[in-house]
């Protein structure tokens, strides 16, 4: 062993540790500045993107460019843009996440000093976080459970959007309409071949959501009642995963939210007491589509400050427009 070798390697180890420390300090805490979000990183991000997106109104370096649009679109609502400051955390249902995320992006464009952080995890996490006040707003795709109401007496659920659950199959499947009874037979395992429900002979591959999902719970309640789901159902943990499994598989059937429908899958009409109902926003609004449910914001006590502003924004005409853009149904819309 050469005599100066130890120094080299010790130096290397030391450098590595110092580097990590530096990274930790500089990368994580340094750029953010103080706890009040007036960070140095955000402007950098904006300036780098400015050249490429200058044409759009999405990203602008000053508040003034956005202002006209704001007054035009939010005129008449109780929500006053631009005044909100601070930071809130919104967490929970992955079904609600895309809407909340889009709402937050727009909200933060309007309120330069507000920071709305969105995270997933699931409805259970959302309710718990709101209850424990680790998040200001929880998102839930199901109603509050009795156990949750007892544990956190102050919990309030605010409906913020409506969602239709659509039964989907492979585009090549000959079937176009299905009755609730037929769906029930398929999901309880009574019907195992497509010829049992009037399509071409082919084994049915039943796909559904995981047993903890709010979507599954709703589906079970509406369709199956007290009957058990067939044990051979494939379980997926998200709308996206259900769709990805159905779009390549000719024998598959599943259910997803309205927002996930595109031409890679075929959305089935429901036959309700002999009448055929298409899975459309209009029918959800009219109340004729049977598989519709509410999505909720959950707060512990009445929302205040930024949380209240964000909820107000969600319920404002502009907020509900974003809800519809993401493929869900506005809660305020009436037939």
């Amino acid at each position: 062993m050469s005599s100066n070798h130890p120094q080299i390697t010790i130096a290397m180890l030391a450098t590595a540790i110092v580097l990590i420390g530096a990274l930790l300090v500089a990368g994580c805490t340094g750029t953010g500045g103080t706890a009040t979000p007036t960070p140095t990183a955000a402007p950098t991000t904006l300036t780098t993107t400015a050249p490429t997106t200058a044409a759009g109104t999405q990203v602008t370096t000053t508040g003034t460019t956005v202002a006209p649009t704001v007054t035009a679109t939010t005129a008449g609502s109780t929500y006053i843009p631009g005044a909100s400051t601070g930071k809130i955390s919104v967490t929970g249902s992955t079904t609600v996440l895309p809407i909340a995320q889009k709402l937050a992006e727009r909200f933060m464009e309007l309120n330069k000093n507000a920071d709305v952080q969105i995270s997933g995890g699931g409805s259970g996490v959302g309710v718990q976080s709101a209850g424990e006040k680790t998040a200001e707003i929880g998102m839930s795709s199901r109603e509050l459970k009795d156990a949750e109401k007892t544990k956190y007496a102050g919990l309030k659920a605010v409906p913020m959007a409506r969602d239709g659950i659509v039964v989907i199959v492979h585009p090549s499947n000959a079937i176009t309409t299905i009755s609730l009874e037929q769906i029930k037979n398929i999901y309880t395992g009574k019907a195992v071949n497509w010829k049992d429900v009037g399509s071409k002979a082919q084994p049915i591959v039943v796909i559904g959501r995981d047993s903890a999902s709010g979507t599954r719970e709703f589906f079970t309640e509406k369709i199956l009642g007290k009957n058990a789901t067939t044990a051979s159902m494939l379980e997926k943990n998200s709308n996206g995963a259900v769709k990805s499994s159905i779009s390549p598989n000719p024998g598959a059937i599943g259910y997803v939210g309205l927002g996930y429908i595109d031409n890679s899958v075929k959305a089935l009409n429901l036959s309700v007491n002999g009448t055929e109902v298409q899975p459309t926003t209009e029918n959800v609004v009219k109340g004729t589509y049977p598989l519709a449910r509410n999505l909720y914001y959950v707060t512990n006590g009445d929302a205040t400050g930024l949380a209240k502003d964000f909820i107000d924004f969600t319920l404002s005409p502009e907020g509900q427009k974003i809800v519809e853009e993401e493929g869900f149904v506005s809660i305020t819309r009436t037939a």
């Binding site: 490429t52 895309p98 997933g120 044990a231 995963a241």
Partner: protein, 649 residues
């Protein structure tokens, strides 16, 4: 080497006081105990949170019940199908991984010319750098569909898909550890065998592999641990139907694993409900299974060691030659052959089973009677085929991701925040978040890990305490990453009130990589020749002086390699941070460790499962994640190669 410093007498003191020496050794002891305490604390915490279920539902109905329907009225919490699913998928993954990886390890260490080796080895290591979300994503889109079409099955989401995917994921672990084991067989063994006139294949099969067997077994156990604990990939491809396949050899049946159940149900469950407690009870069972696998494996290891060292071969019957001939590998081969026959039978009917049986029988009779040259040709052909298969797998995955991800890469993508749910804009905050999580986890794990290893190697080698500590480290290593996530969520986020925060994620990831750091540091320290320590002690240096100035410096590259491997592992993991640290979006970068962060694997997971129409950015994120992890591994490889010779001295 093993009897180590416990036999060395305490040296005469120079500048360092005995008090200081004792204090230092106590610090290292505490570091080492930390690992053990953590394991038992995690176990205790899981059991504690699972206890209400046992009280209300009963242990036996829980373990032996065949129905898992936690939200039905009345709920059923029978986990037998989940246990069976886990065992089947894991066993299947080993059938896929073991032949491929041992063949590849033999190729790398015994057959490959140097020029090919320096290309193939990093390629194999690249497989380890691919995050499990990416595997799952790839499996769902490509593998599942391929299986459905190939076997004309109603759906490709099956035990077979899970086994293949987990087998691929276990490859790099088994290959690299086996290769190390084969490399460490002394040169003289090979030279002796060749000098006696044995062919290269005979030397490999009857000298090299038996001598390296304990290392190879350890490699398989490590790979198995990876397979049992894997969550994100497996839940995307096995279909998650909670049924026991019928018949049990029906590999095209969907199954559900214990980890998959945790991964998909933990987020939605109402906290404090019976279902919540059931998931913790389930996690306890998962931990106990890993414990049993580890203990069972170490027993097998001991027995194999005994067998490999003392058996000479004399004349034997045909039947004996089938089971005994390569004394240590024929029995498992026969078992696998029977399994394959059963599987083929269940898929194609009795005729296929009969045909397969015939093929196996013919092979078993013919192979041992081939001439030496022919059997070497056959063996090398199979080895080339295995290596080819491994490289092909890598090429397919990489081609898919690179070809679709490259269009997304731009300066804007790397430096801007996501917009429109990540369909537009970039992933800058996710890159920063991942770096922060990783840096914090290493800063947390490195001192504990290195300290523990120093204690284990330099102060105590083999007594009841170190055995306990080593078992603790092994258990921690075998603990599935989703269990760390569960623990982090229940203890750090909820109980200690950290909230979903960077700190909770850093600690959870730190615990996860701790065993890797301990093990690699231990190896690095053991590689330092005993004569160096003796020389230093003989000159009157104290034990700590010896460690600090003589032992640690040459071990540093090994330690750094371990650290870098841990960084790579932490960067790609989703399960531990899923419930503890991440948010989907953030306006500003985090300003303190109590803020949540964005992270690349989670971003990819959400894009894949929850954001329709994010195709380009999804692949772009996957590509950046792979490039990041691969870059980190590349540094490790450079460090290793540069200092490899000096490490061995």
């Amino acid at each position: 080497m093993n009897q180590a410093s416990s036999v060395t007498p305490p040296p005469t003191r120079m500048s360092s006081s005995p008090l200081k020496e004792t204090a230092i050794s106590i610090i290292w002891l505490l570091c080492a105990l930390f690992a053990v305490v953590t394991v038992f604390f995690i176990l205790l915490y899981l059991v504690w949170d699972g206890l209400p279920l046992f009280n209300e539902y009963g242990l036996w109905p829980f373990l032996a019940g065949v129905t898992w329907s936690p939200t039905f009225d009345p709920p059923a919490f029978g986990i037998l199908p989940l246990i069976v699913g886990t065992l089947l998928v894991t066993a299947g993954s080993m059938v896929v991984a073991v032949p491929l990886s041992i063949a590849t390890a033999i190729y790398l260490s015994e057959v490959a010319p140097y020029r090919v080796k320096v290309l193939v080895k990093p390629a194999v290591e690249l497989l380890a750098g691919i995050p499990s979300v990416v595997y799952g994503f790839f499996g769902l889109i490509v593998l599942v569909e391929w299986l459905r079409v190939t076997f004309d099955a109603p759906s490709g989401e099956s035990m077979l898909a899970g086994s293949i995917l987990l087998g691929i994921m276990a490859l790099p672990t088994i290959i690299s550890v086996s290769e190390d084991a084969i490399n460490s067989v002394p040169r003289e063994f090979r030279e002796g065998s060749l000098a006696l006139g044995a062919t290269r294949w005979q030397t490999i099969r009857q000298v090299v592999v038996p001598a390296a067997l304990s290392g190879i077994t350890a490699a398989i156990i490590l790979g198995m641990g990876r397979a049992i604990g894997e969550t994100m990939a497996v839940l995307m491809v096995t279909g998650n139907a909670a049924i026991i396949p019928s018949p049990i050899t029906n590999v095209l049946s969907p199954v559900r694993t214990l980890t998959g159940t945790l991964g998909i149900e933990m987020g939605e469950v109402a906290i404090g409900s019976l279902h919540y407690h059931a998931l913790f009870a389930l996690a306890t069972v998962l931990l106990v299974i890993t414990l049993i696998v580890n203990l069972g494996a170490s027993m097998i290891l001991k027995r194999l060691n005994a067998r490999a060292t003392g058996r000479a071969h004399a004349g034997r019957t045909v039947l004996e030659s089938i089971f005994r001939h390569p004394a240590t590998s024929a029995a498992p081969i026969a078992l696998v052959a029977l399994l394959v026959v059963a599987v083929i039978g269940s898929m194609g009917g009795p005729y296929y089973a009969g045909a397969a049986l015939l093929v196996v029988a013919v092979l078993a009779l013919v192979v041992p009677r081939l001439s030496r040259a022919r059997s070497q040709q056959l063996a090398f052909l199979l080895i080339y085929a295995a290596v080819g298969a491994v490289l092909l797998i890598l090429a397919i995955i990489l081609f898919d991701i690179i070809s679709k991800g490259l269009p997304a890469l731009s300066w804007e993508f790397l430096t801007s925040s996501p917009r429109d749910l990540g369909r537009e804009g970039g992933i800058f905050p996710a890159i920063v978040g991942t770096l922060c999580l990783v840096a914090g986890s290493i800063a947390f794990a490195l001192p504990f890990g290195v300290g523990a290893a120093i204690y284990l190697v330099e102060y105590q080698r083999d007594n009841r305490l170190t055995r306990t500590i080593r078992t603790g480290v092994d258990l921690l290593n075998g603990t599935p990453s989703i269990v760390f996530g569960l623990f982090g969520f229940a203890f750090l986020v909820l109980f200690l009130g950290f909230g979903v925060s960077m700190l909770a994620g850093q600690i959870t990831l730190g615990l996860m990589v701790l065993p890797t750091i301990i093990r690699t540091t231990e190896e690095a320290l053991k590689n330092v020749p005993q004569s160096l320590r003796e020389g230093s002690l003989a000159l009157g240096a104290t034990r700590w002086q010896t460690i600090g100035r003589v032992v640690l410096p040459p071990a540093a590259p090994g330690i750094i390699t371990g650290m870098i491997l841990s960084i790579g592992r932490a960067a790609g993991e989703t399960a531990p941070i899923l419930f503890t640290a991440v948010v989907f979006s953030q306006r500003y970068l985090p300003s303190s460790v109590f803020d949540p962060v964005m992270a690349l694997p989670y971003h990819l997971f959400i894009l894949t499962t929850n954001v329709p129409g994010s195709e380009t950015n999804k692949y772009g994120t996957a590509l950046v994640l792979i490039m990041l992890v691969v870059a980190i591994y590349a540094v490790a490889i450079v460090v290793r190669n540069r200092y490899h010779t000096t490490m061995r001295l």
